[in-house]
């Protein structure tokens, strides 16, 4: 189901958290709201979920205006950064919570809860308390809990923010696969560009209460609208006054047209990749090369080379 947010304004005292924001999410997509902390992305998500009220503007979920509809009647799934597990309830009762509130028959609840626990690989933990689970397991439980009520849309607020790097990566892949199976419209907030690039169909870059750009990960990476988007999404380096991607810097050992003379200041290998730093007039760019490229060029600190942007 689609989400349309129109002209959303939200202030906290003098601070403008959202400044006339329009957002449109197509049905069945996995969309990332990406941006630096304090940029307004969580606030926008909470307004969509009904946990925060916008000062002005409107939100439509599946075409229906949500004005005056409190969070408990929006039928959205919400996953919080710190899991928000019901500490006094077992994993089973946590997942069953929304269904019990809706007074579904016990047998139906049981069937649905075990389906979901299987989906999130927690079926053997049904009787445990959340405190007996790891962070990653808790977040999977929270996701099952949110999905149990068959929400119109699934909203995730920095869902992997509190987890270790390894677990984070694993859950990220797992969320992508889950989404491909379930096709529920999903919006997730993150400040991790790698996470957004890897998982989402579409990325919305939010900064200082405004949307900077919306597009597929490739569009944003290859055709950023402005320097902010370019530098926020992926590595950048400066050649003269221009921002470019470090892997878009070509290096030659002999003079070429449009090439800029440079001196190698440092060559550093990290696995398969090599990072080379240069000094040119007015800036100190760096380039990302494969090991083969670096060997072929025979780069050493002090070497004279010519550099040229490839795009």
């Amino acid at each position: 189901m689609s989400i349309q947010a129109t002209s959303i304004v939200k202030r906290f005292g003098d601070f403008v958290a959202l400044d006339d924001v329009d957002l449109s999410v197509e049905s069945g997509r996995l969309t990332a709201l990406l941006g630096p902390s304090g940029g307004g992305k969580s606030t926008l998500l909470r307004i969509i979920g009904g946990l925060e009220r916008a000062d002005s503007g409107s939100v439509r979920i599946a075409g229906e205006d949500t004005a005056g509809v409190p969070a408990q009647r929006r039928n959205v799934g919400f996953v919080f950064q710190h899991y928000a597990a019901f500490k006094h309830l077992s994993v089973y009762r946590n997942v069953a919570f929304g269904l019990e509130i809706r007074k579904r028959p016990k047998a139906e609840v049981r069937k649905r809860v075990f389906e979901l626990l299987e989906l999130v690989h927690l079926e053997q933990f049904a009787d445990r308390l959340p405190s007996q689970l790891s962070g990653g397991q808790r977040q999977r439980m929270a996701l099952a809990r949110a999905l149990a009520v068959e929400p119109k849309v699934l909203l995730l607020d920095e869902p992997f923010g509190a987890l270790d790097a390894n677990v984070r990566k694993e859950l990220r892949d797992w969320l992508r696969r889950l989404h491909d199976e379930m096709h529920v419209t999903t919006v997730f907030v993150t400040h991790d560009q790698e996470e957004a690039l890897e998982v989402s169909d579409e990325i919305v870059i939010i900064n200082q209460g405004r949307i900077e750009q919306v597009g597929s990960p490739d569009e944003l990476y290859d055709k950023p609208d402005n320097d902010f988007v370019m530098s926020f999404l992926g590595p950048v380096t400066k050649l003269g006054d221009r921002l470019i991607r470090p892997h878009d810097l070509e290096i030659f050992t002999e003079h070429v047209d449009d090439g800029i003379a440079a001196e190698v200041t440092r060559v550093q290998r990290a696995g398969f990749q090599v990072r080379a730093d240069f000094r040119v007039e007015g800036s100190e760019p760096w380039a990302q090369l494969t090991r083969g490229q670096a060997d072929a060029l025979n780069l050493r600190p002090g070497s004279r080379v010519w550099v040229r942007p490839s795009r």
Binding site: G49, G50, L51, P70, A71, Q72, R73, R74, N75, V76, G77, F78, F80, H82, Y83, A84, A85, F86, K87, H88, L89, F97, G98, I101, R102, A142, R145, A146, V149
Partner: protein, 279 residues
């Protein structure tokens, strides 16, 4: 080498200090608590079980215990409702005057109970109190009656439930309640299914403290009750103990013993509750 020698020296000094502190603390508790309690217990027991039963089962004693129980139940119920309500208000909402309100709630525990009693008489007294006169002419007695005694007891134990519950609500934050809300729970369902289980142990502890405080209240009760002795009057158990001591009548130890037993029971309850808080 040098550092290991020094660290051993530190350990031995700190061990000596540890035993020293332990001895001081034990002596302190012994002199202040154990000896006086022990004296009351032995005096009660020395007079025999028959005397014990007579002292606590006389019509006057039964009436006093009953009145203490009535006042305590009312005060604890009121303080529980008020304590949980205000704890939610203070931790979940922002409003002007919040800090002032928080400070005002702690005042009753700082003020001498006898002053509290006097203040209540000045406000609710039947002859020259502020509202007391109109309440009296409407046929509703506050001072020298049970409502005033409940009022005084509520006043002196006002923050006990609140101060136990509020930190737990603060620490748990809003996440669980918001999660329940998005899952479709109404305000009442959130309160019953999330808030109450979250504060369960803190609330029990607060209630036990309120019970103990209410049973033992003397000063404020003495002023507002008028201490009218005899069945059906306004004499609570603590006032009865006071009367029997003043008049050199027998039975003060035995009644005190019952009050001590209830307090000890409350403390045992608390110690059963406390460890569960951390599990």
């Amino acid at each position: 080498m040098c550092s290991s020698v020094r660290s051993r020296a530190v350990v031995s000094v700190s061990r000596r200090a540890k035993y020293g502190l332990r001895a001081i603390a034990l002596t302190y508790v012994f002199v202040l608590v154990v000896i006086p309690m022990g004296v009351i217990t032995t005096r009660t027991l020395r007079q025999g079980l028959g005397a014990f039963w007579d002292a606590i089962s006389s019509p006057q004693a039964v009436s006093a215990f009953r009145l203490t129980a009535t006042v305590t139940v009312w005060a604890v119920v009121l303080n529980t409702i008020f304590g949980v309500g205000v704890a939610i208000l203070l931790t979940r909402y922002r409003f002007p005057g919040k800090r002032l309100m928080s400070a005002l709630i702690d005042i009753p525990i700082a003020i001498s109970p006898i002053v509290v009693g006097l203040a209540l008489v000045l406000v609710y007294g039947p002859y020259n109190g502020w509202f007391g006169k109109s309440l009296h002419s409407a046929g509703f007695e506050v001072i020298y009656a049970v409502p005033g005694m409940v009022l005084a007891t509520v006043f002196v134990s006002l923050p006990l439930v609140l101060r136990e519950v509020a930190p737990v609500l603060e620490e748990e934050g809003l996440d669980q309640e918001q999660a329940a809300r998005v899952l479709g729970a109404s305000a009442w369902q959130r309160f019953r299914r999330i808030t109450i289980p979250t504060i369960k142990w803190a609330l029990s502890y607060g209630i036990v403290l309120s019970i103990a405080r209410s049973i033992g209240e003397f000063g404020a009760i003495k002023v507002v009750s008028g201490d009218i002795s005899g069945t059906g009057q306004t004499q609570t158990a603590t006032l009865l103990v006071d009367e029997r001591i003043e008049q050199l009548e027998p039975g003060a130890y035995q009644v005190s013993m019952v009050l001590i037993a209830v307090a000890v029971l409350a403390i045992i309850l608390v110690s059963l509750i406390r460890p569960k808080e951390h599990s």
